[in-house]
Symmetry: C2
Amino acid sequence: MKTIDVCLSPELMHLYEVKGKSVVVVDILRATSCMTSALAHGIDHIKPFAKLDDCLQAKQEGYLTAGERDGKKVEGFDMGNSPFEYMEPTLKGKKIAFTTTNGTQAIAKSEGADTIVIGSFLNLNAVVHFLRHQEKDILVVCAGWKGKVNMEDTLFAGALVDGLQNHFEPACDAPRMAQRLYADAKNDMVAYLQNSSHVKRLARLNIHKDIAFCLTPNQYNILPIMQNGFMVAQKQS
Amino acid sequence: MKTIDVCLSPELMHLYEVKGKSVVVVDILRATSCMTSALAHGIDHIKPFAKLDDCLQAKQEGYLTAGERDGKKVEGFDMGNSPFEYMEPTLKGKKIAFTTTNGTQAIAKSEGADTIVIGSFLNLNAVVHFLRHQEKDILVVCAGWKGKVNMEDTLFAGALVDGLQNHFEPACDAPRMAQRLYADAKNDMVAYLQNSSHVKRLARLNIHKDIAFCLTPNQYNILPIMQNGFMVAQKQS
């Protein structure tokens, strides 16, 4: 049986092999939730940047600039890190240069994988469906918060382990821990996360609506997938 | 309120400050369980070594050599990594040089902390009692397995967070996750850990008895504490 593993923080990536694997990058609050929303609403493609300056440069190539540092929109950027900003019909067909504190760094560290896809609760079933039909070991990369593990990304990793349990077995304890926590949380994730570090951080920025939305499974049936450095939507059949 | 934090792997230690803190090093299967047993049974002191060669050198200073690599006793060492090896009355008053795959590395990385103590389920209440009366933030350092997180060390971290919850608040998500997992596991930890990576690894070495013992809370009322590079027993009142 193929395996599923979970890297709980990008700071642990040197312990994991990505070559030959399907990698799922997760940053529930809010990078990968935004990316999923954007592609679901007709954005042509997203180019992720680990560095802020590189992201800003992309403006000259006709990109809209988007993302955050420390949970706040970057000055001079066109968009921040709320999924609702990516739903405007006027954005259809546009291309976005995206950088965030944790999410885009995790994508950068996943380079070399066979496939890199983006996961969020918003497209949970689409991710499960895609991975199930790949004949490859899976590595879920949690973006965490500045190197530390976080609850929401771990819960999503647990949701994937759970959804794939008949087809992929846990490679070590991290996927087992994630699955246990997800089982504990899944009936009311908003309540479960109420005391988590990042939810507290975001609550100070008054974005309860974002949090509730990012924790709502299966809003979109699309799969954001990296192709030649660009993230595009691969529609699910 | 003072805080309690959990570093789930020694590979994440660069993200945590140890200065001014009480640090608890945890390697349930089996380094810190052995150390606790040894000191409870009258060993004079333990000198932990990160490197195998340094540990072997200590023989010339009259030390018994002890520990493991990859779960197996080191050739030429006096003792391995089973707590039952440390209970012989003949060992009373002796001194031990100790090195293990993960546990002694975690101790080395905790250097600079205000206090370093050793935790195991065997002396859970003694550790809780000691920490409760310190006026310092706490960092629990899980030894893990070769850099990866593991279930048993995380569960013990959760037991500490749980036992100290009225006096210390979680510093971030890792202690919350550990506490949730402990709540889920505590009624039958042996069963809960049955599928964990290290228990599977040890089961191949036929040491079910060790595992069951290492998961039994409060066998000893002692606190192993580092003093000038040596680990000694501080009896609890």
